[in-house]
Subunit: 327 residues, 4 copies
């Protein structure tokens, strides 16, 4: 677990995790879940694609659902600072022998499709078509009153490799789990660009796979309310874990599964991490309050299931350590 | 201000304040306010009447809006324990020389229309047509998520007279304001039947007039949310006072005016008063935390305006004392 | 499961469940739990007894902890309307051949010690020494900001017998669980005097035993906060179940175990039941949303463990049906 | 009101507003206010200085109170990325003919004392002595549960000048108020470094003066609770404005005055602004929902009073336009 120093001047400037593109089997069922129940806003709906955003987001989309019939993740989306960053990124990926292709994407213009070191599909863009935020249109706030996308959380077959890749790109480590082996090894890492606990996180497991997309709400009462709404609207089986509190990141969370099994976390209450001398918080794998500061143990599915990335083979994990699983 | 002992075995058994009947000029405008904005549920809408209820209420209605073109209050509604109480009540009113007439009312069957000692119109019934409560239908909760009617608050020209009338009917004094005159006199009284701070309250003023109908919400966050929703939906001028905290009753409150000027309070956080040895809380008129434990002073309109009762002349108040009014 | 009609004119007038008397082994440990963590107020502490109350309570105590070295429940306390009710009660118990003895109790004066039909120890009093409520002393509110005792929940070996006993005393059925046998039988009953869902509840099981004392908080955020506080102060093992939502009573709950294993529920969000035509809500034992509208299944301990009553043998339950238990 | 383009590569890297240094007349009175009432944590108390921080802060201090007997602001503190930024900053200030002196400060090491274009005293440092965050020590959370400093808000005699100075330093404009003159002029600007709505804001007025320090809380319920606590603890006169909602920044706010008249805002619910194509939100001075999305109008004191900066003369404002003031 060599902790590498943070990179404050990365080769190109990723600002934050901005969106995720998921394949679904039935757009109407997805819309019922994300819009009618969770309360996300529809920016645009085409015959085969639904573009969703949270109430504070001006971006055209933070969740894109494509009716492909395959329960895959097609891309993890990141916003870069300016157009030139796309060119710098293209060169950087190419120099490392990684796939990188510039395309045009609706609503986000010139977009770099690339693969990270483990093969996860990324799409980078500089400018997205922007709309009015609905943050002050309180009459439209429904369900969980999701404000915005916060982070992407993935299984990786090699946490150290994933850590180093994103560390090189300027993602800064905020919290991590240590196996307590000799020498110590990363079990999981939380890394940020935008100044809170994470834009992306990696946990050891069969991967790469998407564990969940994390959506931010303003308060824990919004999360309690969506529990009530989900239970009332027939989605009680889609509530996989929580509500509860993680030790890690101090998150108050609810994990849900959408109709295709994609995992959506609603979460709140992490903290600011912009100082350059911010020390990562270390947790040990055996610390029970790491995963569950309080609340019921996570079910087996939460540890084992995830969304496969399009075109990216799943490999067994490097480490064999095991966290505390629900009985 | 002779404090009379509570009457634990009243001549007939009123259970609680149950509804109010208001005249409006435009049912569509009223519906926009009460339903689209505040989030009340519509049990029934006829050509000229809208029957509304809160999310926990099984009763057919707690607010009845009749498009009469006159901004009047037609009745304060009370639920009695059983049919026989209506007969007992009819006799009791008659014996006192007060108006009392038995009629049939839609959804509430045999109903006694009566006048109290000051002339306020009452309607008493024993059994209302009941529906499923929406308390667990969380997908339908909107706006202030109003749970139920809580109380009726009136100006009276003679607080002592109103106090004695309702005290005789078993309403118990929970809090009161004393003018500090010699001898002391009531400025205002809060009286209950259902076990919290009030079913009805009276304040000295030109009256009788309805000051407000008080609707109960589960939490103060519901009241903050409706502030946001009202401001976002163009009802900022309808927010008359609050949010704030009264010393009296510990209520967290927001006072709004509906499109016809009827005052609707959303309130929460009072307390249980069922013990027979519960001592009334005394406040003095000069205590600034009586009206406003914190928050801005009430505007002049809040002290002066109210809804006139149908068929009930407004008289100047007996007392001339003045509470603390907003600068 | 013969549903008996409610008794609106009971032989004596119990107003509400008012307190519970529990035996503990170490008052300092109990104080750390109830006062330093949960935030209850101490009215009085003697060498061997701790008298606690919630922030809205004027009563001297709602939880009495006696350092007897035995983890027993010594009494379920009820408030009656007036002194004469104690005499009426004494006669009524005697006429039924049930134990009943008048004693003096500190802070509550003349007190009737009695046993109910299943042998559970009761203590009835008319007037308790009263202090100022701390409801407006917000600087003293800590932990769960518990406002008041709400209810007592017990295992009984014979639900039908317990139901009938309390029904005769004017407790009204608000919700119940039906085994769906032919003929149907009660699995559990919720019964009230004070106008919300319950003052006492009974569930089929080895009994009589106290399942829990239910303490009311104003909002669900208070309950979330106490989860955080308990986890931070080393009480995570004392969090037995929740937070979650029951279908029954719409309660948002957290079940905790005190240092002696007594179960304390913090709960909020039930509803008003004062109407005499209020129909009991029926649930079937197989309905998964009965126990858990959402949230993790209850652990085995929650179904099996309880506090034994002093001097009251525990008998196996009459029914053998089984609710849905956590895997 | 020439809107200048944002500067993404500033001459040195300020990360965020980190602290404020205030003079007080009685440290005991200040401690009662900030610690016993608001609930801030004491990192260190010397004979004449009190160092305070919020519950998520690892920094040694975000509010420093010095018992100087003068109600002044001695410095606005900013965190820079690394030690070299201090040297770059020293040169940059010197090159502009602005005061800049490197000193040692307890707990923050090498510190650059400087003056901005209007004469406001700044102190910049790279590394502060860090302690454990109390974010998970929930048993210590009290009062408003203030999490961290968020921003500094100042009157300036020349908004355009202040805007340009901070724009040059990489502060990005997120919202602004326009006088609607021809040509348009800035009335007020909100500018950020850390990715939410502001680290510093300027409003036209007699200045420079500190209008308030803004402290962030997780939820609006924390702000309601501190209203109750302040009123209960005798600080009702210290509640100057609110609670209410600004249109600007979507902030839910409460403005308080400390015992020396320094203004402390508790606020929550703004939004993320890290995207480089984030467009500033424009408000007009006449828009009533700019200042008060809902809530009572601000009192005169809120528009007129502020804390003078040490060694910095107050000048009349350049503009004469007037916002909407409370009647």
């Amino acid at each position: 677990m060599p902790l590498k120093p943070p990179v404050f001047n990365p080769p190109f400037n990723i600002l934050r995790a901005s969106h995720v593109v998921l394949g679904v089997s039935d757009l109407a069922a997805s819309r019922a879940f994300y819009v009618d129940c969770l309360g996300m806003l529809v920016t645009e709906a085409t015959k085969d694609t639904l573009y969703l955003r949270g109430i504070e987001e001006r971006n055209h989309h933070s969740i894109v659902l494509r009716e492909t019939g395959e329960s895959l993740c097609y891309a993890l989306g990141y916003n870069v600072a300016e157009e030139e960053d796309l060119d710098r990124a293209a060169k950087w990926f190419a120099a490392r022998g990684l796939s990188a292709k510039m395309v045009e994407r609706p609503h986000q213009g010139r977009t770099l499709l690339a693969r990270d070191a483990r093969g996860m599909p990324l799409e980078l863009y500089a400018t997205m078509w922007r709309d009015m935020s609905a943050i002050r249109k309180y009459g439209l706030h429904r369900g969980a009153r999701i404000q915005r996308i916060d982070h992407l959380n993935c299984f990786t077959d090699d946490v150290q490799s994933s850590f180093e890749f994103y560390n090189d790109l300027g993602f800064r480590l905020t919290e991590y789990t240590d196996t307590e082996d000799v020498p110590p090894q990363f079990w999981a890492v939380w890394m940020q660009r935008k100044g809170n606990v994470h834009d992306i996180a990696f946990t050891n497991g069969a991967g790469p796979r998407l564990h969940h997309v994390g959506m931010w709400t303003a308060t824990s009462l919004d999360i309690l309310h969506i529990c009530d709404v989900m239970a009332a609207m027939g989605y009680v089986q889609n509530m996989e874990r929580g509500p509860g509190r993680h030790g890690i990141s101090n998150a108050f969370f609810l994990y849900t599964r959408d109709p295709d099994g994609h995992r959506v976390e609603m979460f709140t209450s992490d903290y600011l991490t912009v100082d350059h001398d911010n020390e990562p918080v270390r947790w040990t794998l055996r610390d029970p309050q790491r995963q569950t500061f309080w609340g019921h143990p996570a079910p087996k599915s939460w540890f084992e299931e995830g969304t496969v990335f399009e075109g990216c083979p799943v490999r067994p994990p490097v480490l064999e350590a095991q966290p505390i699983v629900a009985r």
